[in-house]
């Protein structure tokens, strides 16, 4: 598996000296197969081949995130200021990284080549941390970023936004490399365990953010408005596709801010189609973590201490939101409890069926009145809930009937026709498996 994943990575690293790498690829593969024999592989292969230590190092499994630091950057002592205190066997490590033939006297002093090997790795990592902050380094990483070498955000509503490697500390030996997603501004553990041996300090705390400051067109803006097609039933369904089709070109008024349209949906938990009320103990508590304001101006409504500048009253939209929430709360716990009972007492279904439609109706009234109160700002409710616009249509409307079917409301009478269709859709299943990667 490692070798399969490796090949695209090495392809991405090909630009410098194509001949070298072409011959080097074979070497790399051999070494990978005998991953344990790194030192041997090094000593035996390097002198005879044209593969440099740096490209060999970057082609190792788990080193896909590294870019190749140019030799003249390493040779400039200024760039190495302070590093010689951190790396043991400095001279030997430098010779190894730069493929300089060591003098015989020196080799006798070295107790074990693997020590120099790890020194060289440390040296290269620390230089790498500095190099990727330079213009050339940022560009090299941008190429890797755009070819997707670093992978994409595992969060569903980031819709496959590409991530960059980052460290949590700049001092080596404290933490492994993490991945930063510019869309949710959060950090994630790399999906493969082969990155668990890679030191986060080799990428540093600064790189990820300097990168997105430099390439602003790759950086999602901090505000987001749901696609204006609030009325069209299709748009919210295709959350994954919504990114691709855009009517107007996106523009962030802040010229120093992110210039990419963000993927802004936030997950809204639902029980049988109903939002879980925030009044419930298990209600949503963390949606703020992913929420974005609709307009950049809203960001300025909070002062530097994190307080609302005009007090809560000045913020009309959210008062509406609160009201909306209150309305939901009135029936949510009730409906949810009703459902609950159903589950625990399946046998008493007849009774349950007798009672839940009542609740359903009651909630139905409120749900019915809800869209009315919502109408002043329909976009807002869409915004806070990715499935909301799908919800009001498919769920808030239908559950009135569906609630009475006890566990899975949606399979019952209402989808009779849809079912026959979906059965025939067995073949396209691979399609949505594809979208699932998103």
């Amino acid at each position: 598996m490692a070798s399969r994943q490796k090949s695209p990575a090495t392809d991405a690293q090909q630009p410098p000296g194509e001949d070298e790498v072409a011959s080097g690829n074979g070497e790399g593969d051999e070494i990978m197969e005998e991953a344990e024999e790194q030192e041997d592989g090094y000593t035996s292969s390097t002198p005879t081949s044209t593969l440099t230590w740096i490209s060999w190092f970057c082609s190792l499994p788990g080193h896909e995130y590294f870019c190749e630091v140019t030799e003249d950057f390493i040779e400039d002592d200024f760039n190495l200021t302070g590093l010689n205190a951190m790396v043991p066997f400095w001279k030997e490590a430098m010779e190894m990284v730069l493929d300089v033939e060591p003098e015989d006297e020196d080799t006798s002093k070295i107790p074990d080549v693997s020590i120099v090997e790890s020194s060289a790795e440390m040296l290269y990592g620390l230089v790498h941390q500095r190099y990727i902050l330079t213009r050339a380094g940022l560009q090299a990483m941008a190429d890797k970023y755009e070819s997707g070498v670093f992978g994409s955000c595992p969060r569903v509503y980031c819709v496959g936004c590409n991530v960059v490697p980052c460290g949590r500390v700049d001092i080596p030996g404290s933490d492994t490399v993490k991945l930063f997603c510019p869309n949710c501004n959060d950090i994630f553990v790399p999906p493969s365990s082969r990155f668990q041996g890679v030191d986060g300090a080799f990428f540093g705390t600064t790189f990820a953010h300097l990168f997105f400051q430099t390439y602003r067109e790759l950086s999602p803006a901090p505000f987001w408005r749901a696609p204006s097609a609030g009325g069209s039933p299709l748009s919210p369904r295709s959350v994954s596709g919504s990114n691709g089709s855009r009517a107007s070109p996106f523009n962030n008024p802040n010229p120093h801010g992110g210039q990419k349209r963000a993927a802004g949906y936030v997950y809204v938990p639902r029980i049988y189609g109903f939002k879980v009320s925030e009044r419930a103990k298990s209600g949503p508590r963390m949606q703020w973590l992913r929420l974005r304001p609709e307009t950049p101006e809203e960001l300025d409504m909070v002062d530097w201490r994190g307080r609302w500048i005009n007090g809560d009253d000045g913020y009309d939209d959210d008062d509406e939101e609160e009201e909306e929430d209150r309305q939901m709360e009135d029936f949510d716990p009730e409906a949810a409890e009703g459902e609950d009972d159903d589950d625990e007492e399946e046998e008493e279904e007849d009774e349950a069926v007798g009672t839940t439609p009542m609740k359903g109706q009651k909630s139905g009234k409120q749900a019915g009145s809800d869209p009315l109160t919502r109408t002043p700002g329909p976009v807002r409710s869409v915004r806070t809930s990715p499935t909301a616009s799908e919800g009001p249509r498919s769920l808030d409307d239908k559950p009135l009937i569906d609630l009475s079917v006890y566990t899975l409301p949606s399979f019952g009478q209402s989808f009779g026709e849809g079912k026959v269709r979906t059965v025939r859709q067995w073949a396209p299943r691979t399609d949505w498996a594809g979208t699932a990667e998103v």
Partner: protein
């Protein structure tokens, strides 16, 4: 997909269900009690959903006639998987189904949250829709309350409707004591330690109160201001926060604080 291969594999293990559960890629599923499947009431409406429904049901319950043609058998396996998945979605929101999934959750069978500050919080499977063939299964983290795609493509191709939109939220509604704490990893501790820490901190509570919770106890728990404990990542360039992101994060935290104020006011009103 090698999983779609044959139905004759059922020779190797005792029942179709146990064969299905043990085959690769089906690790997220739990075993549906046989009497749940045999109760026709629980299957209401599924006959419209699944072609060759009677035979598929027979296959699941191991009562399929042996003289059925081979061609049919192949397609029947597909239908049986669909049927089992849809039954499974209904089963895991029953009391017994919830406890079965709870065991799997405690074993972290569904993987752990990839978010660094969630300290390897175990995940729960969830669908984005209850209609089959629309969206693949996603994983819900009770700590950051967000959705993630499964790491492995094996799991990434499971239909989300086999788990349904309701399951994880119902689980935390029924077992409020299991709602994960929002705090992240402990500072300066390696991730693994802190995750076992937080789990062992929770475990005594889980075990003693799980029974109580099922009976509707756990009223003492307040989750109004748990979000305050949540840690978040702050991007920095040479130690300085990045302007636009810092602004967004302040706004988000103001939203959070307002929700907390709202919830605490509610709590005061209804003691």
């Amino acid at each position: 997909m090698e999983e779609a291969s044959t139905g004759s594999d059922s020779d190797y293990s005792s029942t179709w269900v146990s064969w299905f559960l043990s085959s690769k890629g089906n690790e997220y599923f739990c075993e549906v009690d046989e009497d749940f499947i045999l109760d026709r009431f629980n299957l209401t409406g599924l006959n419209n959903e699944v072609a060759n429904y009677p035979q598929a049901l027979d296959l699941i319950t191991d009562s399929l006639d042996d003289d059925i043609q081979d061609e049919l058998r192949g397609s029947l396996d597909v239908q049986a998987r669909l049927l089992y998945g849809l039954i499974h979605a209904r089963w895991i929101v029953t009391a017994r189904g919830l406890t079965k999934m709870l065991e799997k959750y405690k074993r972290a069978d569904f993987g752990r949250c990839p978010r660094v500050l969630c300290a390897s919080q175990p995940l729960l499977p969830v669908g984005l829709t209850d209609i089959p063939y629309e969206k693949s299964v996603k994983l819900y983290c009770g700590r950051c309350e967000d959705l993630y795609s499964p790491k492995s493509s094996r799991h990434g191709s499971i239909d989300g409707a086999y788990f349904g939109t309701t399951f994880p939220h119902l689980l935390f509604l029924v077992y409020p004591t299991l709602i994960p704490l929002k705090d992240g990893e402990l500072p300066s501790n390696p991730i693994k330690e802190s995750s076992t820490d937080s789990r062992s901190r929770r475990r005594p509570r889980e075990d003693t109160e799980a029974g109580v919770a099922a009976e509707g106890g756990a009223e003492g728990i307040s989750t109004a201001n748990v979000a305050l404990k949540a840690e978040r990542y702050r991007p920095r360039i040479y130690g300085f926060q990045v302007n636009e992101i810092a602004k967004l994060q302040r706004w988000q935290e103001a939203i959070r604080d307002r929700q907390i104020a709202r919830l605490e006011a509610l709590e005061d009103k209804t003691p």
